[in-house]
């Protein structure tokens, strides 16, 4: 690892420590318990030595009893400190983890949508779950391991040297081999375990994909191929795991062997010392007793290295999210407004999602007076939805300016502003919960009666009431228990319930059946009185009733006017209109598919997607 990386990681851990600061006292108390626990643990072999030398060898039964009593007291104290330490480290660690997780989520919700386009949802969620869990492991298990094992190791070395320097030196002679072996093992293990993790990921991915797409697999009778692919990743997984089995299979027995070597050395050298009267039998026994006090910590600390590595990486990723500045679109502060009129102006607005990507909007000029109902039509990719997103200030124009009520959109407080804008998209996202909860998203404290009143006004109360459990019908991930049309209805009601002054409907009723769509339409023309509405539609039927129709193509406005006026111009709108007219109108005059093919010879729009 390069110096820069070490420094970065160091900085990362310093920032993590700042989260502990709020629980300073508890953390210090916990560390004190760890120290006391270690001391109690180290006392055992020493007490045994005293008991053998001064009690048993000297035949002093009173002293033996005293030592036994001390041993009992130390054990009980050790248990007490162990309990306190376990609880304390969890208390502090889990709180830090919770605080960090909350901070991370809060920060995520403040980031602009550009961030969410650049980062995949899975990646972001992994920061909130996997990385946080990795940190939790370090904070809760790792920190206790680190403190107690380091202390035990140091304590054992000090005690051994204070008992007998020469025997201690002989005993320690195995330490270099142990350390070198551990470093080699650890380095290999890091790669080996990474391979295991990757191969587990592959197994999961193949499994997930084939189970989700099982219909396609079966429809195309590719079961055997799928089984082949799965067997292959499964075999990779087995091999990667086998690697770690061999590695740890060599390391752990080798450490045990070294421990036996140390025992033999103590017996051989110490035995002669005892015979010469240089040390007592008790010292020799204590030495053998302390062996586990430095073999065990070395193993534990080598394990810990893994934890520190992975949690360090996790922490860096978490901090990279926390350090991401929200884009201008999300900048807080600015004019707060209790009421908007809904007058919208675009001045030379251009927009590109990324610098290298092309411009989606190209110097658009547009004025929509308050209260007007505007339909936006044009082929896919013309920039209709992007225009809608700019109006929501999901993104800022790369050039030009969007004005609402004559004020630059950038000057509003973004959240305040958005509360006045209702937005329904083609594939509305519903949260799990009931239909009721989804509709009252903007005002969770609203009761059923209020929600139903809004649905009644929209003319869809009967439809929502007739769902399996009415308004209490539960919506699952992506609203899978409701049909696409029903989801759109809920999203519609949800937007309407927030009483927006500006309403943006982006293909909002594409999956609603025509009968219901018509009911919504007629309700809307009533409800939209005095509100500004921007309706994006593929189906031109929804467009005709608008006050004004704007046709977009390639990021520009190519036509602007009323339905009948545009039809007589025989421009893009009338072409679009006639293509659809023919598609539907022909039905009455022909039943043959071959004949129907004729209408495709109509003039066609460029169909960019």
């Amino acid at each position: 690892m390069s110096g820069v990386r070490v420094w970065m990681r160091h900085r990362a851990f310093v920032r993590l420590a700042s989260y502990v600061r709020g629980y300073r006292l508890q953390a210090l108390g916990t560390v004190a318990c760890m120290i006391a626990l270690t001391a109690c643990g180290l006392a055992g072999p020493y007490l045994l030595r005293l008991a053998i030398d001064r009690g048993i060898a000297a035949g002093d039964l009173g002293y033996l009893t005293q030592i036994a009593a001390v041993y009992l007291a130390v054990s009980l104290l050790g248990a007490l400190f162990n309990g306190l330490q376990t609880y304390g480290v969890n208390w502090v660690g889990e709180r830090v983890v919770r605080d960090l997780r909350d901070d991370l989520f809060r920060h995520l919700t403040s980031l602009d949508l550009g961030y969410y386009t650049r980062q995949r949802a899975g990646w972001i969620i992994s920061r909130l779950t996997n990385d946080i869990e990795a940190l939790e492991q370090l904070l809760v298990e790792g920190s206790a391991q680190l403190v107690t094992n380091t202390l035990t190791l140091c304590g054992a070395v000090i005690i051994l040297f204070s008992m007998d320097v020469r025997l201690a030196t002989v005993t320690m002679s195995v330490l270099p081999i142990l350390l070198a072996g551990t470093v080699v093992f650890r380095m290999r293990a890091v790669t080996a375990y990474r391979r295991v993790r990757n191969s587990v990921g592959d197994v999961t991915a193949v499994l997930q994909e084939n189970l989700s797409g099982i219909r396609v697999v079966q429809a195309f009778t590719r079961e055997a191929d799928s089984r082949g692919v799965f067997a292959r990743v499964n075999e990779h997984y087995r091999r990667a795991n086998m690697n770690t089995v061999v590695l740890s299979g060599a390391y752990f027995p080798a450490v045990e062997f070294l421990s036996a070597v140390a025992t033999a050395l103590i017996l051989l050298y110490g035995g002669h010392q005892v015979a010469r009267g240089a040390i007592t039998v008790g010292v020799l026994v204590a030495f053998i007793g302390y062996l586990s006090s430095f073999f065990d910590p070395v193993e534990a600390l080598s394990d810990l290295y893994n934890t520190i590595q992975s949690s360090g990486a996790a922490l860096e990723k978490i901090l990279s999210v926390l350090d991401t500045e929200p884009g201008d679109a999300e900048r807080a502060g600015g004019l707060s407004t209790t009421r908007l009129a809904g007058d919208i102006t675009l001045h030379g607005v251009s927009f590109a999602y990324a610098v290298e990507a092309g411009e989606v909007l190209d110097r658009v000029d547009l004025h929509i007076p308050a209260g007007q109902r505007v339909a936006l039509v044009g082929p896919t990719g013309a920039g209709k939805s992007t225009l809608a997103r700019l109006l929501l200030r999901f993104y800022q124009p790369t050039q030009g300016v969007v004005l609402v009520d004559g004020i630059d959109l950038r000057d509003y407080d973004v959240r305040e502003y958005r509360r006045h804008v209702g937005y329904v998209s083609q594939e509305p996202y519903l949260f799990s919960g009931t239909v009721l909860d989804n509709i009252r998203l903007s005002r969770p404290q609203a009761d059923l009666a209020e929600v139903r009143a809004a649905a009644l006004e929209l003319g869809i109360d009967d439809l929502l009431s007739s769902l399996p459990e009415g308004y209490d019908t539960r919506v699952h991930e992506r609203g899978s228990r409701l049909s696409a049309g029903e989801r759109q209805l809920v999203a519609f009601a949800r937007a309407f319930f927030a009483h927006p002054q500006i309403l943006i409907l982006d293909e909002a009723t594409s999956s609603v059946d025509p009968g219901t769509e018509h009911r919504l339409e007629s309700a809307l023309s009533r409800l939209l009185q005095g509100r500004t509405a921007l309706v994006i539609a593929h189906r031109l039927s929804t467009v005709e009733t608008a006050d004004r129709i704007i046709v977009m193509e390639d990021g520009r406005i190519v036509e602007d006017g009323g339905h009948s006026g545009l039809l007589t111009q025989r421009g893009p709108y009338s072409q679009l209109y006639h293509a659809q007219f023919l598609a539907r109108g022909l039905v009455g005059t022909t039943h043959s598919g071959t004949e129907a093919g004729r209408y495709s010879s109509e003039p066609r729009q460029n169909d960019t997607e």
């Binding site: 033996l64 041993y71 050790g78 997930q208 079966q218 027995p253 929804t542």
Partner: protein, 603 residues
């Protein structure tokens, strides 16, 4: 216990020799481990106390020799049992997956992908860990326990009897600990899963949160879920902090007894100093097996539960399989016949006696309100289900007398929400025929009006789609799925609202291409839009699982169902007349769904 025996039989078949070897090596390792305190005892008594310093070398050498043997045995044990356990796991998982690929639509309708994943990954791992390690530990620990106890009684029976008193309590406490901790840890996992769900929803739905400016409210929801994890973790910490010190202190009690009682015996000359030290060392050897045995019971319980979940999947019988007498179909002409077909999902009738003949080369549109059974009817053709009564025939042959592979390889199916794999665009299109040529792929893409947009993708036909690649729009996905279906040159093409997300002009191009390509191909269209009905030679109007009317598009009043308000403007009179009926249909659809008790009969 029956499950356990079945698990052993099912999963360990073919591995008994390797398992026995691993057990043998484990016992050897254990036995060799028992030798070291014995040598120390000898060294202390004979060499140190007895003054025969020359024997020290012998004892040291003996310790080294035993340790070396032990290292070899332990290495062998780890490698052998690792190999067996991984083989068992890999086999189990392969078997489970193979089995899953044979299960039909009915199974997948009632199973969640996440559930199946956790069975194939976590449960399989739990079973293998226990079968391969747990069983070996159970045996070796029991052996350690018995032999150490025997040695202790041999050394000094009275001391053994007294000093072993705290030991059984370790076992009992460890068991109680494991029993209490496990549900608590499980609850932690539950809380984490809940938080993950909350996070996932908020991240995916971030646009809604921003559009409604409800960030604060959502942060509160998240913080609540986050706090739940904290609380549950703290509960688990409470259990740990009570039991761990308790289990830790018990062996110390044994050591204190040895010191106090054994020390007196040494002073009284009833016990040698070496034996006392060996006693100490042997009792230490008991701690780990005692703890483990206490936990092994819970471990076994969990493994059995996991094994049950795995076996449950393996016990699922595929409902649609090749009969032993099934014959391969030759190239189909494509005539389809439904003969008195009824079909029920979980006893809810979906199709109630449908008889219909579709001629070879004919294009038929199935039209009807949501939940009327049109998709289910279409899915009977590739035999995704078998009818409850009656039969489906192609070219006069009952589907149940044909092999699935020969049938499905001649049918192309495109869903409304098609599934694409995380492969390149090219590999997705030639999914049904992986050896298809470049030209064939391009031709299929062109026919599905997908060629243009594919070429505009970053890497054209080599662009990888899905999680790790480019995200496509709904319309683009539908067109790729159509190309995929067309590539295999199916004799029967089934389009289930396959162009719903495609804009009108592109749809027109597809319709054009399809009509040109059709030739003698039979096409069944589940139609949701007027434009697709136009393709049909005949329209079948369905209602509540029965056929209401069959005829040419002119004869059948399908507009009742599909009337769009394009016609409200264009053919106002017509639409006005039908609107009431359409509304009634929509309501009926909802009621029908209510009756079905789920999202409708269409899978």
């Amino acid at each position: 216990m029956a499950t356990f025996r079945r698990m052993m039989r099912t999963f360990l078949r073919g591995h008994w020799i390797a398992l026995s070897l691993s057990l043998l090596l484990a016992v050897t390792t254990t036995a060799l481990g028992l030798a070291v305190p014995w040598f120390i005892r000898g060294a202390v008594d004979k060499a140190l106390v007895g003054g025969r310093t020359d024997l020290l070398v012998v004892y040291a050498a003996a310790i080294l020799a035993v340790a070396a043997l032990r290292m070899a045995a332990a290495f062998g044990r780890r490698v052998v049992s690792g190999r067996v356990s991984l083989a068992v796991e890999t086999e189990m998982r392969d078997r489970l997956f193979s089995h899953l690929t044979t299960l039909g639509f009915d199974f997948y309708m009632r199973s969640q992908t996440g559930q199946l994943m956790s069975r194939a990954i976590a449960d399989v791992r739990a079973v293998r860990m226990f079968l391969a390690y747990g069983l070996v530990f159970l045996i070796t620990h029991t052996i350690t326990l018995l032999s150490v106890t025997a040695i202790l009684f041999f050394l000094q029976p009275r001391l053994a009897a007294v000093s072993l008193i705290p030991m059984p309590f370790i076992l009992v406490t460890a068991r109680a600990f494991s029993r209490r901790l496990h549900p608590s840890l499980w609850a932690v996992q539950q809380r984490i899963a809940e938080l993950t769900a909350v996070a996932e929803e908020r991240i995916t739905g971030i646009r809604v949160i921003k559009a409604f400016a409800i960030e604060d409210q959502q942060q509160a929801t998240f913080a609540l879920a986050s706090d739940q994890i904290y609380r549950q973790n703290l509960e688990a910490a409470g259990i740990r902090s009570r039991y761990i010190p308790l289990i830790g202190v018990m062996p110390s009690l044994s050591l204190i007894i040895i010191l106090l009682y054994g020390g007196r015996m040494v002073v009284a000359g009833d016990l040698t100093l070496g034996s006392l030290i060996a006693f100490n060392a042997y009792v230490m050897l008991l701690i780990w097996p005692m703890r483990m045995l206490g936990m092994l019971v819970s471990w076994a319980e969990r493994a059995i539960a996991a094994g049950e979940r795995v076996l449950e999947v393996l016990d699922e019988r595929p409902t649609v399989t090749d009969r032993s007498t099934a014959a391969d179909l030759s190239r189909l002409r494509g005539a389809i016949e439904f003969r008195n077909v009824t079909f029920a999902h979980d006893d809810v009738p979906v199709i109630n006696g449908i008889s219909l003949r579709i001629e070879s080369g004919e294009t038929v549109a199935l039209v009807g309100p949501t939940g009327c059974g049109k998709t289910t009817l279409a899915h009977l053709i590739p035999r995704f289900y078998d009818p409850t009564t009656g039969g489906v025939l192609v070219d006069g042959i009952d589907l149940r007398d044909t092999t699935l592979a020969s049938l499905r390889s001649q049918i192309g199916l495109v869903d409304q929400d098609p599934f694409l794999f995380s492969l390149s665009v090219r590999d997705n299109i030639r999914y049904g025929q992986p050896d298809a040529s470049e030209d064939a792929v391009a031709a299929a893409a062109a026919a599905a009006a997908a060629d243009d947009f594919i070429r505009a993708l970053p890497a054209g036909y080599d662009t990888v789609i899905g999680e790790r690649g480019v995200t496509l729009s709904g319309g683009q996905r539908q067109r790729l799925a159509l190309a995929r279906a067309l590539l295999i040159d199916p004799r029967i093409l089934i389009l289930d609202d396959a162009t719903s997300s495609v804009d009108a002009e592109t749809e027109a191009r597809i319709v054009d291409a399809l009509s040109g390509l059709r030739g003698s191909r039979t096409t069944v269209i589940v139609a949701h839009r007027p434009s697709t009905v136009m393709l049909a030679d005949r329209v079948v109007l369905l209602e509540a699982g029965s056929i209401r009317q069959v005829g040419t598009p002119r004869e059948v009043p399908w507009q009742e169902i599909l009337v769009a308000d394009a016609e409200v403007g264009l053919q106002g009179q017509l639409a006005a007349a039908h609107r009431a009926a359409a509304e009634q249909d929509a309501r009926r659809a909802v009621t029908a769904r209510l009756a079905a008790g789920d999202t409708g009969a269409t899978p």
